[in-house]
């Protein structure tokens, strides 16, 4: 992710301690200290409340090290590939099997 500072409105990808799936939500509050350290609060656009319920016990803010990246665009339906492969692992095996078969049977 770029070194640009985190600003309100940006959609960030972050991990919460204890949760395996990262969350992609918008930054609604930023408090940047003199030394560059930043406290950030996020919220899903269509959610009623902010993400404090999703953060770790007692955690009120996210810091820079929690944030893994930013969203810059949108590709429709691409996420479904990951979702289907996670929910029906057999599809993952079929796909890898088919690719492997193609590689083996290739005459080049």
């Amino acid at each position: 992710m770029s070194k640009e500072p985190i600003r309100a409105g940006e959609i960030v990808v972050f991990n919460v301690d204890g949760r395996e799936i990262p969350i992609v939500h918008r930054v609604i509050k930023v408090h940047e200290h003199e030394d560059g350290e930043v406290d950030v609060l996020t919220k899903g656009d269509n959610n009623f409340g902010d993400d404090r319920l999703l953060y770790a016990q007692g955690q009120m803010w996210l810091q820079r090290h929690h944030i893994m990246g930013r969203a810059v665009g949108f590709l429709p339906y691409v996420g479904w590939v990951t979702i289907i492969m996670t929910e029906q692992p057999i599809i993952k095996y079929i796909l890898i099997g088919a690719l492997g078969l193609l590689v083996i049977t290739s005459k080049e």
Partner: protein, 167 residues
Amino acid sequence: MHSFGFRANALLTFSLTILALMCAIASISDNLNSPSPTATVQILNVNRFQKKSTGDDEVGFTLDISADLQSLFTWNTKQVFVFLAAEYSTPKNSLNQVSLWDRIIPAREDAKFSTRIKNKYRFIDQGSNLRGRDFNMTLHWHVMPKTGKMFADKLVLPGYRLPESYR
């Protein structure tokens, strides 16, 4: 070279490439749009200005937000997310951005609006630095495309000031 597998593979790769190209063209067409949004924000009343028991200042406003964001919409726009943030600096924090209100605008017709509301999210400082504080009201908008690059911009409305004392 003529097996089912190879033909299926070629078809899949070709269709994915075409889809990617269409997505890129749709996204680039958004750059042809030159938006001209307008907005005004008025603080109608400061309802509440207190130091909380945690030691942090909190302000509650009634605001009048009027904007015309219709020019942001293109055929490739899914929705526009708009929010109003109070932006200020204090001796403790070099930058504070606190979102006060936001809305999802699903279509062009809904993009011209005027609303009178209390701040949706609480305006709480880290510390007790808000008395007499000058701040900007910045209206941010994020245009979310049906496909492709998102783009964001803002309108800075400077010149607001919080009261000198609690009420």
